[in-house]
Symmetry: C2
Subunit: 105 residues, 2 copies
DNA sequence: ATCGTTCATCGTAAATATACGATAGGTTAA
DNA sequence: TTAACCTATCGTATATTTACGATGAACGAT
């Protein structure tokens, strides 16, 4: 794409777009829902519920972690992930600023 | 990416991911904010406020329209765009389902 | 120390997204 | 009709994402 122009926008717009990018794959939406419904949050459990290879799931988890939508901590040989509610709510609130005050044309 | 596995998820997860994808570029976030603050919504006005070529802006508008976040209607030689509040609110509500009931691990 | 388990990272191939110039299509004005 | 204008689309180059097998790193148990 030649050269990216993403840096020429405000920090807030870049941040919100980045969070949206992390949400832009059904596997990552599914992962968030799984973490929301399980007390256990081992990677293996997540892999079992997705039609994807372990390496691919790990990549998706990394992307969600990168933008702060989930937290992960090492627990012995396993890794435990969970949703970061604070940032998810922050993203939801940011969407409020996009509502049109005016009706549709 | 070899073969896409996106179809192997639920319709709702695919839909929400698709809306998030439309929001995943700062230019498109900016466009929504511009539409939210202007009574006029001609493409030319939007192009003037972005560091992008007209062809690129048109592409971004097309992507927002594809998922129903904006509506566009031809008004003489110009085209008028506006935010589709209904779908934006629908997306925001869908994010509510992703909050963790459990605290962070 | 060795083995099996769990997960992250590397390397790589293919699909998709981004950006722009050029051009086409449609509208109003002269 | 011609000219000028506005926007969408086409063609194309490059960047990024997606997906997987293979490998590596860390841990617990034997």
């Amino acid at each position: 794409m030649a050269v990216s122009k993403k840096t020429e926008f405000t920090q807030e717009d870049i941040w919100l777009a980045d969070v949206a990018k992390a949400l832009s794959h059904p596997a990552r939406i599914r992962i968030l829902k799984i973490l929301n419904n399980m007390s256990s949050c081992m990677v293996g459990n997540i892999v079992d519920q997705l039609p994807l290879a372990q390496a691919t799931v790990s990549q998706h988890l990394k992307e969600l972690k990168r933008v702060g939508l989930i937290n992960g901590e090492i627990d012995g040989p396993k890794t435990c992930y969970c949703v970061n509610n604070k940032n998810l709510i922050k993203a939801k609130n940011a969407l409020d600023k996009l509502y049109s005050k005016i009706g549709c044309c």
